[in-house]
């Protein structure tokens, strides 16, 4: 898996980070203060989570006066969608099940033959 996808998956694996990202995706521009009010963790933790989201390019920030505003970049989810859209994963899993089904079928046929 490419490293961009790895950092994206890791960033989204944390429930608090995911909540922050969801909130930004839903509510638009927010400051660290505004995010901290609802995140349930301290402001330094929120800032740390925002850094991880920034590394995964899931959020961007810009200075506005004395405060930094963050907004979500849903388009950064593309690698995730690509990965899930890669039906290869889906079909390989299904083929494993198919092998099991075929093995069981044989058992039934053999029992009937006896």
């Amino acid at each position: 898996m490419p490293s961009a996808a790895n950092s994206l998956f890791r960033a989204l694996a944390d429930p608090t980070r995911r909540a922050i990202f969801e909130r930004l995706a839903r509510d638009g521009d927010l400051t660290v203060h505004a995010l901290t009010d609802r995140a349930g963790v301290s402001q330094p933790m929120v800032s740390k989570h925002l850094s991880a989201l920034k590394r995964a390019r899931l959020v961007r920030n810009r200075r506005k006066g004395r405060e930094t505003h963050y907004h979500a970049r849903p388009e950064a989810l593309a690698p995730l969608v690509d990965w899930i859209g890669d039906y290869g994963v889906f079909w390989r899993d299904k083929f494993d099940r198919l092998a099991d089904v075929l093995d069981r079928l044989e058992d039934v046929d053999e029992r009937n033959a006896k």
Partner: protein
Amino acid sequence: MTSPDTETRSVIVEQEFPHPPQKVWRALTESSLIEQWLLKNDFQPVVGHSFSLRRDPVQNWNGVIDCQVIAVDPCKSLSYSWGAMGVGTVVTFTLTPTDTGTHLRMEQSGFRPGQGANYKGAQYGWRGFINGLEDVVAGLE
């Protein structure tokens, strides 16, 4: 020459099963068997038959895959259209007998390159994809 707009890509999965083509064919075409390895369905091996494959709904997607049988060549090949979340593709199974069983090739064709990258959050709902992601990530390292 193909322009980027018309170029499509396929997903191909191949595997050999130690079972005769007749049995693999049954698993591909009998509704109750299809459900055991693929998805719930109302499949019938009849060209033109419309059916659906159903998985558990996720947020912003009811989990229904709309399909129609395109070709049926018993014990040799089967293809049907596969429409899910606004993306239309074609799934084709090809069975080839081998010394020890059956070589099964699945090709799902018709993916356009932009379909992954041109992510339309409103259309798909990304939250649905993220559900269960923790399990995926747990297996990453």
